[in-house]
């Protein structure tokens, strides 16, 4: 029963967790309607305006850019939170935590396993760096505001932490006597 639960927890809890991420993320994007940094390029014909315009656009029909269709304008309204960052943190963080735990287990074994454990820690750190790189490029490419990326990273981190607890417990129960921890 212990092995069955462990495999289940290792495989299914993270996947279910990620499924919930994707849906929550999409709902949040639509509910907040945060404008992307380049929204004016999609909505207005000339940016920046040649003169002061006391114009407040409250719907897509008021946009003056004829080249942009309704779908493009809708996509320019879903900036918060950053989906790239959320998914990157979701996958990277959960895998990194998994690698750290496996490294802890292997680190107590033979010398060769310790070498593998060090490699795993290095890969885990690279994954975290990759997740941050994804978020930074989203800001640098003017697709998201910094708070979009930070919120995406926060959501990915929190949801992964909550969803990965059973996995960690299962791993520890599986490969080490409970009294060790």
């Amino acid at each position: 029963m212990r092995d069955t639960h462990s495999l289940h927890a290792r495989v299914t809890h993270p996947t279910y967790d990620r499924l919930l991420h994707a849906r929550t993320h999409a709902q949040t994007k639509f509910a907040t309607g945060e404008l992307r940094p380049g929204f004016a390029r999609s909505c207005l014909e000339s940016v920046p305006p040649s003169a002061y315009q006391p114009l407040v656009i409250t719907s897509n029909e008021q946009c003056t850019n004829a080249a942009a269709d309704n779908d493009e304008l809708d996509s320019a309204r879903v900036s918060f939170p950053s989906g790239h960052t959320l998914m990157a943190f979701c996958w990277s963080l959960s895998t990194a935590v998994y690698l750290f735990n496996v490294a802890l287990i292997l680190g107590r074994e033979r010398l060769r396993s310790r070498l593998i454990a060090n490699v795993m820690v290095f890969v885990a750190l690279c994954l975290m760096a990759w997740a941050w790189a994804v978020g930074i490029t989203r800001i640098r490419d003017f697709h998201h505001h910094p708070w979009d990326v930070l919120t995406g990273a926060f959501l990915g981190t929190m949801c992964t932490a909550v969803g990965f607890v059973p996995t960690l417990l299962a791993i520890r129960n599986d490969y080490a006597p409970p009294t060790v921890y």
Binding site: M1, R2, D3, T4, L7, H8, A9, R10, V11, T12, T15, Y16, L19, L20, A22, R23, H25, A26, Q27, K29, F30, G33, L35, R36, P37, F39, A40, P49, L55, I57, T58, S59, D69, N70, E72, D74, S75, R77, V78, G83, H84, W91, Y98, L99, V102, I105, R108, E109, I116, V123, V134, T137, R138, R140, H143, H145, A170, Y175, P177, T179
Partner: protein, 155 residues
């Protein structure tokens, strides 16, 4: 290797902390978890197709919205699909490695091998996990539609 060996029987369950015991009991209701995820996915898909993003007012002179976006340095497919397809084999390989370590403990007679019922349960749950991954892929496809402007049902 002796440190890895342990007595894999239910007799040791009382050694688990209350939190670990609770997690183990919770895992018995995973079928409800899958059903809930499917219902959540269907409901969310339906509502997202019917709704539009909230129309936040835009001030034409708000210079914080004047930036010119450039093509994404890291494409979305690489994050949503490339990472899972790269990381899942990595985790599977590690599980294989750890499985070999456990196997050596089984050979020493310190760990009981899995019964047929346990193997069948593992296979069933693994199939449900693949189903969940498929739902995840469909869910992320909705995000891709947001980014590639193909909301065909939006007015």
């Amino acid at each position: 290797m002796d440190e890895l060996a342990y007595d894999d029987t239910d007799d040791g369950q009382e050694d688990l902390t209350p939190v670990r015991q609770f997690a183990k009991e919770l895992a018995r209701f995973d079928w409800a978890l899958y059903l809930f995820s499917v219902v959540l996915f269907c409901w969310s898909q339906y509502t997202l197709w019917l709704t539009k993003p909230y129309a936040t007012p835009f001030f034409a002179n708000d210079a914080t919205r004047w930036y010119t976006p450039v093509p994404s340095t890291i494409p979305y497919w690489l994050v949503a699909y490339g990472m899972p397809f790269a990381l899942i084999p990595l985790v599977m390989a590690l599980e294989f490695l750890l499985g070999n370590l456990i196997k050596s403990s089984i050979a020493r007679g310190r760990v009981k091998p899995r019964s047929m019922l346990q193997r069948a349960t593992i296979a069933l749950r693994f199939g449900l996990a693949i189903l969940t991954v498929g739902l995840l892929a469909s869910g992320t496809a909705d995000l891709v539609r947001c980014e590639t402007h193909t909301h065909s049902t939006r007015g």
